[in-house]
């Protein structure tokens, strides 16, 4: 074996080891969920999932809480997605296409808001939401989440709009399409992949979000899965198999959709957050 052959073989081994490390915890979540009580505390751990235990995934849904959590997460995430896109599309379009008074200021604002930790705004948002009755509501969480997705998604979409030649829009204007009509009928369809990627990013921000949900939601029927699942941490009465099964069910949609959209999400995130 020559030196360069050796290097490329070694590189391949390392890269597969890295990939293995990256997915092992998820694999382990699944293995744990399907381990029987007897094997759980045996002298040598069970290393592969046992298919006879797959019933656990049906079991966790029999209890109402898990279903409610996931449904709540879905509503919050979907709401965050819709609101984010509704605000970010016009904002990103204006940033890509038009000069306007205060553009630099708004740009700096969008940059600075990306630096604000959620934890810093928990208290003031709590005190704003409290008199408006937005605590213990989906709306409150959707409003808070969107404030954090909006800056990033705006940049992603701005960069996408930048790639659409102005001539296409001029052609649309000559064809009789003006204003919002040209945006909706001609420009948006061109950048659909970026819009879809943005939707996925916003959705999973809402799906994953924890701090606001923890602080704003005290009513159990409104709790999303992030808070519900976090409740298992440090708690010992629920069997670990059930906890891990819920973890798998909660993680799966996020990972699956990311994988489907990964090409667009990665380039979008790279362009949006990095260049932004």
């Amino acid at each position: 074996m020559t030196r360069s052959e050796f290097i490329s073989h070694a590189a391949l081994v390392i890269i597969f080891v890295l990939a293995g490390l990256a997915i092992f915890p998820f694999y382990w979540m699944f293995v744990t969920a399907t381990t029987s009580d007897a094997n759980m505390f045996a002298a040598s751990p069970q290393l592969v999932p046992s298919l006879s235990q797959l019933g656990i995934f049906a079991q966790i849904f029999e209890e109402g809480a898990v279903k409610t959590w996931l449904a709540n997460s879905f509503i919050i995430a979907a709401g965050t997605t819709v609101l984010t896109l509704a605000l970010a599309i016009p904002l990103g379009y204006a940033f890509a296409r038009f000069p306007f008074w205060g553009k630099a200021g708004v740009g700096i604002g969008l940059l600075v808001t990306q630096m604000l930790p959620e934890a810093v705004l928990v208290v003031p948002l709590f005190s704003i939401f409290s008199p408006l009755g937005l605590l213990n509501s989906y709306a409150g969480l959707i409003l808070a989440n969107t404030a954090f997705t909006l800056p990033v998604i705006t940049w992603i979409l701005k960069n996408a709009f930048d790639t659409v030649p102005v001539e296409i829009e001029e052609a649309a204007v000559l064809d009789g399409c003006t204003g919002i009509n040209a945006l909706v009928r001609v420009v948006l369809p061109v950048i659909m992949p970026s819009v879809a990627a943005s939707a996925v990013i916003a959705f999973f921000h809402g799906w994953n979000e924890y701090v606001f949900a923890l602080t704003f939601i005290t009513n159990d029927t409104l709790k999303p899965a992030s808070v519900g699942l976090a409740g298992f941490i440090g708690e010992i009465s629920t069997p670990i198999q059930s906890v891990m099964a819920v973890g798998v069910v909660y993680t799966l949609p996020a990972v699956a959709l990311y994988l489907l959209m990964q090409r667009f999400i990665v380039s979008g995130m790279a362009a949006g957050s990095v260049k932004g």
Binding site: I7, S8, A11, I14, I15, L18, A19, A22, P25, F26, W28, T32, M40, F41, P45, L87, A88, P90, L91, F98, P99, W101, V106, G109, L110, T113, M115, P117, A119, V120, L121, V123, P124, S127, T146, A147, L150, E170, V173, T178, G179, W207, N208, Y210, V211, A225, L229, A230, F232, I233, M244, G247, T251, A254, V255, L259, Q262, V266, M269, A270
Partner: protein
């Protein structure tokens, strides 16, 4: 033709000079209401002794919160923890990400499959990650200790996250594990813009792997890596959920970053004013880092143009 005039024209042919303002207004108002006003309120809180028990009472106490922080060893501990955590994140995610990206920047069977696997940690919810790592690092039954015990590598009493001398490094490792996929994929994308002819020219000139990287690859990816460093810094200063769920800042403050400290002061000790003061410090650090970054980046672009 300047882009400025182009844009104005576009607004005009779309029928209204006010179009851009109509497009921008909803988003700007939204950000003002849900980011701007809360931020101002947080600033106001930082000069009050408002308590969580009575959040609407405002009592101006000047810079007392800040001067108390200056006398508080816990605060200096958080600064130190934050500095170590941020530096570790930046070095770890970028080092490992760059390494992985360089390894993946070649043709091999299963490349896109591997790339998909590697991206998974970044896509997963922090709550699930905290949950599974706490289980894997469980002192008695965790797979990590079960694997390390026969090798004699298990830490004292099998404690990781509950071990004051190991907790920070463990949290750091988990963070890097979650984030390196992102830096790897972004760097990989930028590696693909390195001109192949340039690498070949360097090979013909007799450059070894390191010389090729130094002379050809690095200059192309350097701006991307620099931006990632900024992003990793800001994200690390902000990070709350993962650390909170893994350790809640403990044991004995060993993972108590500024943001965790802020949450503890506000929601555990109920001192909203002090919490806000900590938040202001965190914000100021983020903003300063960003300004410094753009100052350096601008000077670099100017120097580039001079050449």
């Amino acid at each position: 033709m300047s882009s400025h005039s182009h844009g104005t024209q576009l607004a005009r042919i779309h029928g209204s000079r006010w179009l851009p303002y109509m497009l921008v207004l909803p988003g700007v108002v939204y950000l003002l209401v849900f980011q701007g006003i809360p931020l101002l309120q947080e600033m106001r809180l930082s000069v009050s002794n408002t308590s969580l028990l009575n959040p609407s009472r405002f009592n101006f106490i000047g810079v007392a919160n800040f001067s108390r922080l200056l006398r508080d060893p816990n605060f200096f501990n958080s600064i130190q923890v934050t500095a170590i955590y941020v530096a570790g994140c930046v070095i770890g995610t970028i080092g490992l990400g760059l390494f992985a990206a360089l390894l993946m920047d070649r043709e091999f069977t299963g490349r896109s499959f591997v790339r998909s696997l590697i991206i998974i940690p970044w896509a997963a919810p922090p709550v699930a990650i905290a949950l599974v790592f706490r289980w894997m690092l469980n002192g008695q039954y965790g797979i990590v200790n079960r694997g390390l015990e026969p090798l004699g590598l298990m830490p004292a009493e099998g404690l990781w996250l509950d071990n004051p001398s190991l907790a920070l490094i463990t949290v750091l490792a988990i963070t890097i594990w979650q984030l390196f996929p992102f830096t790897a994929v972004v760097i990989l994308a930028s590696l693909q813009s390195v001109p192949k002819e340039l690498k070949e020219a360097a090979q013909i000139d007799g450059a070894g792997l390191w010389a090729q990287f130094h002379a050809v690859t690095w200059p192309v990816i350097r701006p991307t890596v620099a931006l990632l460093a900024l992003l990793m810094t800001i994200w690390s200063i902000r990070r709350f959920e993962l650390i909170w769920l893994l350790t809640q800042g403990g044991p004995v403050g060993s993972t108590n970053t500024l943001v965790i400290d802020l949450y503890r002061r506000g929601f555990i000790i109920n001192k909203l004013g002090e919490a806000a003061a900590v938040g202001m410090v965190g914000m100021a650090v983020s903003v300063l880092v960003t300004i410094a970054y753009f100052a350096v980046a601008n000077r670099a672009t100017r120097a580039e143009k001079m050449r």
